[in-house]
Amino acid sequence: MSVPVRVRNLEKNFGRYPALKGVSLDVEAGELVALLGPSGSGKTTLLRAIAGLEQADGGQVLFGDIDANSLSLRERRIGFVFQQYALFKHMTVFDNIAFGLRARPRSSRPSEAAIKSRVLDLLHLVQLDGLEVRYPAQLSGGQRQRVALARALAIEPRVLLLDEPFGALDARVRKDLRKWLRELHQRTGHTTLFVTHDQDEAFELADRIAILDKGCIEQVGTAAEILEHPATPFIDSFIEGIARREAQARDWTKPHVVASR
């Protein structure tokens, strides 16, 4: 089901401002890759270009070995979760999740009964059983986030793109969702690229991490690789906090330190 995503020398300019300057990145089938970088580094732009919401000025995106440009948005089958959820606010949770199935052309549209059972399955998957009659305005931020994810999963995507999925949530909820997303990914195995500007999140969740700065990929690698061999001074300073925390965690011998924070 899942396909690898290959980004080759992707360029994107907004007017004369280069937001992406030749970005190359591979996400293998079923892999979970975090896209990390400071604000304005081009993370959202890269995600939108892969999704086809933004027309790139140069370079190529491949799904498997098919050029993305030859595919319509529908044919790309990308599950996209937006930074601000973008739920349909005039629809119930149920209708939100069912949207992608109902929007299919008649020939490939499942029956209402099949749609219903699929939506209820997804609600169960994202742990929102019983909330299908609510409207987005009646949900908490974390619940909305999971509705957005369920909606994206409903179309049986081949690739999941998540833009700061937990960006708007408080630290505790973020941690819960992080663990939950990791488990979900292990179960469903989608090729996943998710954006975050939270180092801890990236290092805890991802198989590999890609660090973006000013429209360029600075380094791609596993958490250990990046922590041990930061490729550039920028990365060195960018991951400083994490390295320090990791070191502290290793040196933790006195439990009373925890109690006194």
């Binding site: 996209f80 973008a86 929007a103 819960d176």
Partner: protein, 293 residues
């Protein structure tokens, strides 16, 4: 996982927005009410009283006058063409302006406002200059035996022009504030552009659209200036209700004039009633969607 912790709004004491004394307030309210009564309510009552001066019999008699019936029919026909036309074109224009980037957008915005800022008489004269016998296209129209000025097409055109901004003005700010994120989400879920428009864009603006249509309708039925210029005032043929009222009045047929006027007022009141209902409904819904976001 549990997501029960919510922030409760802090209890807050109602603050007085102003510091006027009770007396000042009472005086201000009284002035406003008196003004409304004198300027809005009294004339309306007068219209109905004048219409009924010689009793219900005469009132109904004046409705059975064929010219009056023709005027009512024409007004309804013109509104039935102009309002759907403006609703569709206004919706399309708002959609383009709010959801897409293109050159000349500001010019388009200014053009949409134009009918509001120029006098309706000028709007009418524009069509006379274009389509009149002495106008630019006049000779060609005469040669092909097409009548626009002093005929129904001219009246429809003038009404369309004058009432165009109502729908677009209502929709553009709302659509702009809603942005394009829901549309993008729909496209990513595989919906076609048309499906997205019908199931995402349109439901999000439906109350504003209805509201704009009602305002547009009220103005379309009541328009006098622009229509007066292009109509030619041919009894039973090109007189709309407002024009017919003027003619009857000038002929000292007061009961007739006020009978038609009261009918027009009733249509306006109906529209107003519908609008209030919508406003009530609309604000409710807006509040619901604005609460969190």
């Amino acid at each position: 996982m549990a997501m029960s912790d919510r922030f409760l709004p802090l209890a807050h004491t109602p603050e007085r927005a102003t510091s006027e004394t009770a007396l000042t307030r009472a005086v201000l309210i009284a002035i406003a009410l008196l003004f409304l009564a004198a300027v809005l309510f009294l004339p309306l009552v007068t219209v109905f009283m004048e219409a009924l001066r010689k009793g219900w019999g005469t009132l109904f008699e004046s409705f059975s006058d064929p010219d009056t019936l023709a005027a009512v029919r024409l007004t309804l026909i013109v509104a039935a063409i102009a309002v759907p036309f403006n609703a569709i074109v206004g919706l399309a224009a708002s959609w383009a302006i709010a959801k897409f980037e293109f050159k000349g957008k500001n010019l388009l915005l200014t053009l949409i406002d134009l009918p509001f800022s120029i006098s309706p008489v000028i709007s009418g004269l524009v069509f006379v200059l274009l389509f009149g016998a002495q106008g630019w296209l006049g000779p060609w129209l005469v040669a092909h035996d097409i009548q626009i000025i002093f005929a129904v097409p001219g009246i429809v055109l003038a009404t369309v022009l004058v009432t165009f901004p109502f729908v677009a003005r209502e929709l553009i700010p709302l659509m702009q504030s809603q942005g394009t994120s829901e549309e993008e989400a729909a496209l990513m879920l595989g919906a076609s552009g048309w499906y997205t428009f019908l199931h995402v864009t349109l439901p999000n603006v439906k109350w504003a659209l209805l509201y704009g249509v009602l305002l547009c309708n009220a103005r379309a039925m009541g328009e006098f200036g622009a229509v007066s210029v292009v109509s030619g005032h041919i009894r039973g043929l090109t007189n709309t209700m407002p024009l017919h009222i003027e003619i009857l009045y000038n002929e000292y047929n007061f009961v007739g004039a006020f009978a038609v006027a009261s009918l027009l007022a009733c249509l306006a009141l109906l529209t107003l009633l519908a609008k209030s209902l919508l406003e009530w409904r609309f604000s409710d819904e807006l509040a619901a969607t604005a609460r969190r976001h």
